[in-house]
């Protein structure tokens, strides 16, 4: 199984109007920057985007917002930290042009983990007694309250990885791992942009962070140059 696609646009050409897409990355770290940019050049709309932030650190996502390609966001840290700064997403949300499903970080990633693991729903203590609990089932287990949370199963996951072999076994680097593995597991189709692609057998079999079974397509990319900040987008 050689999963490499020579052309990044070919690798995402079946993304469709209304598709749900999970984008890996934690603030500036481990984002699928090339795939997100390629997506912004595709004529698809009404997307459901599942990502930690909405254009804070993962600056490429703002282009999707500018193009009005996004119908709904599922996220846990959508805004600039300072309330005095308004992102494109915040402006669109204030204008009622986009939906936001806010979910706590741990619940967010556990819902994706459940999606990949065939678990339709689970109970969690996170969010009990808060606005997050609105319209959710509460259950007592051993006298303590828990919320029912449902799996997320995106149509696509776009992830960024440090290394892969051609069969899709993937190794991440340091904290650039973050959301990427579980998003890949949850999605029907996972497309990975990868800094280094090697032959099967060249990776240490004991340190595969994401088994190849979860990855359908690979695209070789150059190592991006990223500034670790959520304060300002890079200058063009």
């Amino acid at each position: 199984m050689d999963k490499e696609y020579p052309d990044i646009n070919k690798a995402i050409e079946d993304v469709f109007d209304g598709a749900s897409i999970a984008l890996g990355g934690f603030f500036s770290c481990g984002n699928p920057v090339y795939l997100t940019t390629a997506l912004s050049k595709l004529d698809v709309k009404n997307l459901i985007i599942i990502a930690m932030t909405m254009g804070i650190g993962n600056w490429e996502l703002n282009e999707l917002l500018r193009n009005r390609q996004i119908k709904k966001a599922i996220c846990n840290y959508p805004f600039f930290r300072s309330v005095s700064r308004r992102s494109i997403f915040e402006e669109q949300l204030r204008a009622g042009e986009i939906e936001c499903e806010l979910t706590p970080m741990g619940t967010f990633i556990e819902r994706l983990r459940a999606g990949g693991a065939g678990i339709p729903a689970f109970y969690t203590p996170t969010g009990v007694g808060t606005l997050i609990a609105q319209n959710k089932e509460v259950r007592l287990c051993d006298g303590k309250e828990y919320l029912l949370e449902k799996a997320i199963k995106p149509d696509f996951a776009f992830i960024h990885a440090y290394k892969a072999d051609r069969t899709g076994n993937i190794v991440f680097r340091k904290t650039a791992r973050n959301y990427n593995p579980e998003m890949a597991k949850a999605a029907k189709v996972t497309i990975a942009e990868v800094e280094n692609i090697v032959e099967p057998g060249e990776l240490n079999q004991e340190m595969i962070h994401l088994p190849g079974i979860y990855v359908q397509r690979l695209v070789k990319v150059d190592r991006p140059q990223i500034e670790a900040t959520i304060e300002k987008p890079p200058e063009k």
Binding site: F26, I109, K174, T175
Partner: protein, 225 residues
């Protein structure tokens, strides 16, 4: 509106909190004052976790140490200590929600006498009921001991330690200890127990800027470092 007292600096609040974390602990520090705690733990046997997926985080990275693939949960480039390990976000929150964090230190907008607190949404600031929840709700319910590090009152003088929180909650009944620039207050079953006050202040001073009726510890003393 309460009076205005100076109290101790943010750095000394961080030191006081560092002293509250026993050796052998695993701890997670939130954004703001909590981040400063790790400035006081060199040589201590405390392992810090960051939500992004790492144990044994080191100090902030300087100059050539900066690695775009190594940041903390506040998006600052950091370093790693011997014994560091990396893992996924799902693992990170399994750990947090599973009760493995001995101590979490978080900031807050408000804290109540029952240990409720709010830290993600001030009504009117963001569209609808949205805000940056991040990992705060999971840390609040998961940590064995939750310390809230805050200025005792808002800059405008409004009270932050209240009978009931008025903003949307981060968690109910989760707070164990409140460390402010003016006092150290334990959230006890019976209510808020005033244990330490900043130099030059009296328990009455603290009560004057605290809505709930404080229980004054018989051992109440000056904040020690």
């Amino acid at each position: 509106m309460g009076k205005k007292f100076e109290g101790i600096s943010r750095e000394l609040m961080a030191l006081r909190i560092a002293n509250e974390i026993p050796d052998g602990s695993y701890a997670n520090l939130g954004i703001g004052i909590p981040t400063l705690v790790s400035n006081w733990t060199e040589g201590r046997d405390i392992v810090f976790e960051t939500e992004i997926g790492m144990l044994n985080t080191g100090p902030l990275a300087m100059g050539g140490e900066v690695d775009q693939d190594l940041i903390n949960a506040s998006c600052q480039p950091i370093t790693e200590l011997p014994g560091a390990c990396y893992f996924s976000e799902a693992e990170s929150f399994a750990m947090i929600r599973g009760g493995y964090m001995d101590v979490a230190v978080l900031g807050a907008f408000q804290v109540s006498a029952k240990g409720d607190f709010c830290g993600w949404n001030i009504p009117g600031q963001r569209p609808g009921h949205t805000g940056n929840i991040g990992g705060s709700m999971d840390l609040a319910v998961g940590a064995k001991k939750l310390i809230i590090a805050i200025e005792h009152t808002m800059k405008t003088g409004e009270l932050k330690i209240l009978d009931e929180c008025t903003y949307p909650l981060t968690a109910k009944g989760a707070v164990d200890l409140i460390v402010t620039n003016l006092a150290v207050i334990e959230v006890a079953k019976e209510g808020l127990l005033l244990k330490e006050v900043a130099s030059g202040l009296t328990p009455e001073d603290i009560q004057s800027v605290t809505e709930p009726k404080l229980i004054i510890s018989p051992d109440v003393k000056e904040i020690e470092f």
